[in-house]
Symmetry: C2
Subunit: 215 residues, 2 copies
C-alpha cells in the first residue's frame, strides 16, 4: 500500500518528458514566436532528445497548438466561473479582470504568445481554441448585458470594455523585459508599476466606463 502510493506520488511529482517539453516549448514560443522557435533548442531546454518531440506530438505546429489550446481553455474556464457566480454585475466585471490577470500570471508565456497571435490574425488557432477565445469575449458581453438589464450599466459596446481590459493587462504582463530596459533608460515610474496597481486600475476604469454617471 505504501509502495503503491509512493509510486503514484512519484509519477505526479516527477515531470514526464512530455510535460518538460511542453514547459520548454511554451517558453521558447513566447520568447521567439512560432517561426523563430527552434525544436533543437526546445529539446535541449527540456533535457529530452529531439525525436521525443515527434513521438509525443505530431510536429512543431501540433506542439504549438497544444500550448495555445491549454492557454485559452484555462481563461475560458476561469471566466465561465466568474459568470456563473452570484456576484452583482460590477463585481463580475472586476472578477473578470482578476481572472484574466490570474490566468496570465500563472503562465508567463501566455501574454507574449497572445500578442503574437493577435499580430498574426490568429493564424495558428484551430477551431476548438478559437471557440474558447470567442467564449471569453461573449461572456464579458453577457455580463455587460446583464448589468444593463438590471439598470446598473449604461448601454456600452462590450468590445470597447474588452479592449480596455485585455489591452493594458496583456501589455503589462508581456512587457516585463521591455520595462526593464525602459527603467534602465531612466523612465520614471516604470519600476514602481506593480501587478496590483495595474489590475486595480483596469478594474476601476472598466466599471467606471460601464456605470457612466453621465461622463
Amino acid at each position: 500500500m505504501l509502495t503503491n502510493q509512493s509510486v503514484k506520488l512519484t509519477n505526479r511529482l516527477v515531470e514526464t518528458s512530455r510535460e518538460r517539453l511542453l514547459a520548454a516549448a511554451a517558453a521558447e514560443f513566447a520568447a521567439r514566436g512560432f517561426a523563430g522557435a527552434n525544436v533543437d533548442r526546445i529539446a535541449r531546454a527540456a533535457r529530452v532528445n529531439k525525436a521525443m518531440i515527434y513521438y509525443h506530438f505530431k510536429s512543431k505546429a501540433a506542439l504549438y497548438r497544444e500550448i495555445l489550446r491549454e492557454m485559452f481553455a484555462a481563461v475560458a474556464a476561469r471566466v465561465a466561473a466568474v459568470e456563473a457566480s452570484e456576484a452583482e454585475p460590477a463585481d463580475k466585471v472586476r472578477a473578470f479582470v482578476e481572472a484574466i490577470a490570474t490566468a496570465a500570471e500563472a503562465r508567463p508565456h501566455f501574454p507574449p504568445i497572445w500578442f503574437r497571435e493577435i499580430a498574426e490574425g490568429g493564424a495558428h488557432l484551430d477551431a476548438g481554441t478559437l471557440a474558447h477565445v470567442t467564449a471569453v469575449v461573449k461572456t464579458l458581453g453577457r455580463i455587460v448585458q446583464e448589468g444593463h438589464s438590471r439598470g446598473c450599466f449604461e448601454r456600452t459596446n462590450p468590445m470597447l470594455i474588452h479592449a480596455g481590459i485585455i489591452g493594458p493587462l496583456l501589455l503589462y504582463f508581456a512587457s516585463g523585459p521591455m520595462r526593464k530596459r525602459l527603467a534602465s533608460a531612466g523612465v520614471p515610474g516604470v519600476a514602481a508599476l506593480s501587478r496590483d496597481t495595474v489590475v486595480a486600475h483596469v478594474q476601476r476604469v472598466a466599471v467606471t466606463a460601464l456605470q457612466g454617471h453621465g461622463v
Copy 2:
C-alpha cells in the same frame, strides 16, 4: 527646365526599388514577424530582385531595423509636437492619444510589429530606436507631471496611464483580422467598433483617471 522638373517629379512619383522593398518588408514583418519573414517573398512582393535587398540594405536584420527606426521616430516626432503645443494638460493627453492612433493608422504594420517587439523584449531595437521609444514614454510623463503641478491632475504613475492608452489602441489597430474572425463567430459588437469610438474612449478614460475626482 520642363525636362528637369518632370524628371524630378518622376523621381518622386515613381517608387524606387528601395521604397518598394521597405513597403513590402513592412507588410511581411507585420504579418509573419522577423523570424517568419522571408526575403524571397519580400522581393517578389516588391517586384524587385532579391539581390537588391542586400544591395540597398546590409541584411534582413538591417532592413527590419530600418523599419523599426522609421516607426518609432515618427511617433516620437508626433508626440514631441503635442508636448510643445500650448494646449492645457488634459488636451495634451487627448492629443497624445490621437497622435499614437494617427501614427498607427498611417502605418498598418506598426501595431503588429510593436506587439511582437514587446513580446520579444525589444530584442531588435538598436540604441537610437530605443531612445525614440523612451522619449515617447518620458514625454507622457512630463505632460502628467505638468498637469499635477498646475493642479489639474492627481498624482498618478504615468506608466499606468501609458499602459491604459497604448494597450487598447495597439490592440484595436493590430487586431483587425482577429476581429473579423470573432465577428464571423457571432461575437456581438465587434463589427460596430470604430476607430473613433476607441480613440474617444481611450481619451476619456485617460483624462478621467488623471483628474480623479475622488474616484
